[in-house]
Symmetry: C2
């Protein structure tokens, strides 16, 4: 690869691709789903649900956090995570907007 070309793209495309990328692993989809499922924010509970080692789950959580889709606080020995709804809604909105634009694009019929 030599150099990372990602910065050469349009910021909008970078933003959307980063949102997509972080959801581009089944473990992270599963984590988000698990967080959505429970009132209480989960912590080590997620580890039990996923077929992955604790350290790996922790890494996935960090990535979701870094992307702003999840927030977490330490409460005692445990760590509490939940979906960062504000951020999530915002980026999801941008994503949907972009996808919507694409879907009603003007290549009416099958072109190829």
């Amino acid at each position: 690869m030599a150099l990372n070309k990602k910065s050469l793209f349009h910021p909008d495309d970078i933003l959307l691709s980063e949102f997509a990328k972080v959801l581009g692993h089944p473990a992270r989809i599963a984590i988000i789903r698990e967080l959505a499922k429970h009132e209480e924010c989960i912590c080590g509970q997620i580890v039990e649900v996923l077929p992955l080692a604790q350290s790996t789950v922790s890494q996935h959580l960090q990535e979701l956090k870094k992307a702003g889709l999840v927030q977490g606080t330490i409460s005692g020995v445990k760590s509490c995570y939940c979906i960062h709804k504000e951020n999530f809604a915002k980026v999801l909105g941008l994503f949907n907007e972009a996808m919507h634009d694409i879907m009603l694009s003007n290549n009416k019929e099958k072109c190829c």
Copy 2:
């Protein structure tokens, strides 16, 4: 990594993550946008628009094709691509459904 754990996840999560993954690179977002922008299906035109070598663009196109989001036919020397709207709409629909469920999940207030 040793073994690929992806198959241990729920098929739904795998499907969604694969959709997200293929959109997880700015070049592929840009390609989709470019395809949506023009009536005519683009081919080498995409190469001109992107800051990447022709072979790299071709690879990204193949990935989009493999994921079913794009279709392409050869017309003469040129190659014509367009968005596979049917597939795209279907997977996007599933994705939106899942995201929607997540957004109206029951962790009412900030939990952490």
